[in-house]
């Protein structure tokens, strides 16, 4: 998966248009990134990519870039930035 595709996937999780998100986007600026949004993200990572995160893991994720890093560590996203 490319970073563009990964950002589009994240946008879909948070019910936003892909062009509204960048790796620097902070969760405070994403209306749907609330407690339900966190669980939706966890469920999506689990069902779509087999990535299972603990509550502690997910609390450390504060930006879109942090989500991309999670996806890279689990091999879902290529290590290159494109």
């Amino acid at each position: 998966m490319t970073q563009i595709e990964a950002v589009a996937w994240i946008a879909q999780v948070f019910e936003m248009a892909p062009d509204q998100l960048t790796p620097d986007t902070h969760r405070d600026n994403v209306p749907a990134w609330d407690s339900l949004g966190v669980l939706t993200l966890m469920a999506g990572l689990d069902s779509d990519f087999g990535i299972v995160l603990t509550d502690e893991d997910i609390q450390r994720v504060k930006t879109v870039g942090d989500i991309l890093d999670v996806m890279r560590r689990h091999g879902t996203l290529a290590q290159t930035s494109s």
Partner: protein, 154 residues
């Protein structure tokens, strides 16, 4: 009006699947308005029935830090009208079951037909938010009929 929208649990594999039943009698007041001269069970109530079935399936397992609550409806389809007095079977299969969340694929069946379906997402609300010692009457009735199937306390 009570808000237990199930009459009975028919089959139960805690944390995995459940089948429950519900019949809404014709004399229920809601049918006066939904709709005048054309009484049908509201889709939102069918969705709530499926959610209550799936939620009890999760709660029966006893392995979560709280009680299952509907957090999101990922899509619901309503294919056939459901009339008063019809016996409705609510089916739920738990598709993801984690400590923080769970998902279920659910459908309602009337006279052998799939009348509606929904993907449901559950969160868990801490037990201390609820009345201490409260036990679900439908689960209690099921365990009373099938004591051998009740999970052992962890």
């Amino acid at each position: 009006m009570r808000f237990i929208l199930l009459d009975r649990i028919i089959e139960l594999e805690p944390g995995k699947r459940i089948v429950a039943s519900k019949t809404l009698p014709a004399e229920e007041e809601l049918f006066r308005d939904h709709f005048p001269g054309f009484p049908v069970v509201p889709g939102v109530l069918l969705t709530e029935m499926m959610a209550q079935a799936a939620g009890r399936c999760l709660d029966a397992e006893g392995g979560h830090p709280g009680r299952a609550m509907l957090g999101k409806i990922n899509g619901a389809s309503f294919r056939e009208w459901v009339k008063p007095d019809q016996d409705i079977l609510l089916h739920a299969t738990i598709t993801h079951n984690r400590q923080s969340f769970a998902t279920a694929e659910c459908f309602a069946e009337v006279e052998g037909k799939n009348v509606c379906s929904a993907g449901l997402f559950f969160v868990f609300v801490p037990h201390e938010r609820f009345t201490a010692g409260h036990q679900d009457e439908l689960l209690l009735a099921y365990w009373k009929r099938h004591p051998e199937r009740q999970p052992k306390p962890r």
